[in-house]
Symmetry: C2
Subunit: 367 residues, 2 copies
């Protein structure tokens, strides 16, 4: 009854198909890759036999080996997943990158690198990723995976980490200038006692606590996370210009990234310096949470407290937060584009995207 079992013991390959049809392997290959190289008739027969034998077409891995193309881009994000997937700005970046990959017909491989894994495991994941290039997002300056990525000698685009790395293109914004502009605005409103709520400044957690803490002087000297550092220095710039002592800035660092981090940080900041009249935050998510906390404690914004954010995520704009809007989605698109269509020159590109100060309803003169 069954001249041929529907699920053959051994998986069909191009060679077995060729044998079955008594043609050469090239012909089978052509049937899939160069339809014009063989008669429509033969091609039909090939495809029909393939279907009958359950042959899904050329094996992707073998093809990749031969063509030296994997058809995918690797994304290396060192941040915890719960960060990447809970910060709309980070998410927008991934979405933009995914969109760009989709348009280019490339897959996007999320490389299994995360804070839960040993660095050696993460490194192994980078070394065994079948991709044509990498995007490295928001790494700290001493990111161990960046080095591993570089070893692969594949095209690399680094995002949000302005350090000049030989031969890699970069996409970023001018965090320092953008933050300075925002801080200048706050200072010009008359604020003198300012708090800055930041994400984590270094790989190692500050004390041992999971709660936000006031950043020590030493910690402020060498923030390893570029983005946080630049934004911090942006505030310093504006303060210095206005004759304020940068040391007077109360900096509170949230190591963990929780929905309530901003509120907890606000509490810590106000406890450290009750005279604060403005809370600047290095991310909208921090600012929104801080606003919730302030409201719950009867502190009116902007009447009694000015609050600012950074990123320009939808919820922040909806709630009228004074912030800096950055094109996160576009960042992702550009990074992908740089990988898929590298500049003719072959030279690395530095792509600094514009930002925009958004004067919202959460800032005003101090009381």
């Amino acid at each position: 009854m069954s001249p041929r079992s529907p699920t053959p013991r051994r998986r069909a390959t191009l060679a077995s198909l060729a044998a079955e049809l008594k043609v050469s392997r090239t012909t089978i290959s052509n049937a899939y890759n160069r339809p014009d190289q063989l008669s429509a008739d033969l091609r039909e027969r090939v495809l029909a036999t393939a279907k009958r034998m359950g042959y899904p077409g050329p094996d992707p891995v073998a093809r990749s080996l031969r063509t030296r193309k994997a058809g995918a881009v690797g994304l290396v994000m060192t941040e915890p997943l719960n960060y990447s997937f809970s910060d709309p700005a980070a998410l927008d970046f991934v979405a933009g990158l995914a969109e760009s990959c989709e348009d280019a017909g490339q897959g996007l491989l999320l490389v299994a690198v995360g804070p839960n894994r040993k660095v050696s495991d993460g490194a192994a994941a980078v070394l065994s990723a079948g991709v044509d290039g990498f995007v490295v997002y928001s790494a700290s300056d001493d990111d161990p995976y960046l080095q591993v990525v570089l070893q692969r000698h594949l095209p690399v685009v680094v995002v949000d980490q302005p350090q000049n790395i030989s031969g890699t293109s970069r996409v970023c914004i001018d965090d320092r200038a953008a933050m300075a502009e925002l801080a200048r605005y706050v200072v010009e409103l008359g604020h003198r006692e300012i708090g800055l709520l930041t994400m984590r400044l270094g790989r190692d957690r500050p004390h041992g606590t999971g709660k936000p803490v006031v950043a020590s002087a030493e910690r402020l000297e060498t923030p390893l996370f570029h983005v946080q550092r630049e934004r911090l220095h942006g505030v310093y710039d504006a303060m210095t210009e206005a004759g304020l002592a940068p040391q007077s800035l109360t900096v509170v660092e949230s190591y963990e990234h929780q929905p309530t981090s901003g509120g907890l940080a606000a509490e810590v900041a106000l406890a450290a310096n009750p005279r604060l009249t403005a809370l600047m935050c290095t991310a909208d998510v921090l600012a929104l949470s801080a606003m919730d906390w302030l409201r719950a404690h009867g502190i009116y914004v902007p009447g009694q407290m000015t609050v600012t954010g950074f990123d320009g995520v939808p919820e922040a704009l909806r709630r009228g937060l004074t912030t800096v809007r950055q094109p996160s989605l576009e960042k992702g698109r550009r990074a992908g584009h740089l990988l898929h269509s590298p500049p003719r020159s072959g030279l690395p590109v530095l792509d600094v995207l514009p930002t925009e100060l958004v004067r919202g309803r959460t800032s005003g003169p101090p009381v």
Copy 2:
């Protein structure tokens, strides 16, 4: 000065390293894969030479071909990206899957399948994905990519699509029962004139419009998107039980997925039937947007209008929405787990996750 150029013309391979060191390729391979198979001394020399020659270790693709393991899982999501990345429930699923992959040391490949691409391109992406298995998420019943995935003869886990597909495991919730329970609650509150706001019911857009529209009788007969269909029928179930005519349900379909879709849909529903006292939504994002629209139009919730959602996303819970909480993150984890650690039996598994009715502050008796 330079006995050996730092960046050799041709990329180093395992073979070139072997030649350089005058040992066999096996030895090099062992240095990376079976450190105990050679003297620590020789291994050191191999690694040192590798570093000198810029050899990043065994080529992942070649290794994959040989070992028949890609070290990655493919995720096929037919929905538009702006959907997947804007609905927290979908996102949680991806996060859960990513987490599971990370724990297993596997990459997660987002396959370039999307509504912007021709189906043939998407199919090609599926056929050329270098993965060890697939997760197919929330496909419509006639999803063309599902067939292509099946062709690959790789392990497959289908999520949110209960149709029995030969040999594939499934992770889902009982959408129909959960929605019926919620609808029963609404009906018991006394509501008789109910509106249901749904996501798209079919692949093809209803009319030609981008706006939400009242779903025609024909359209309601064969909703292709399983999840929407099940939730719709859940409402029918509760209505029938209470002696209400299912046809009296005003169903409004949002084909596009925008942040304001829920509000637009609410407007359409109320225009179609001004006597509605309850708006049930098949997703929290729809319900939240509807609530915003109602508030903007002076319609008090729950005093003048009961609103319910589905999913239990954080914002919904925060805002006290009456909804069904489903474990989206866990869905992702389970799907990953099923792929990484398939049941010993080799038999397909059906994993129905529990849901929970959340009686919030947005539901009450009709006026």
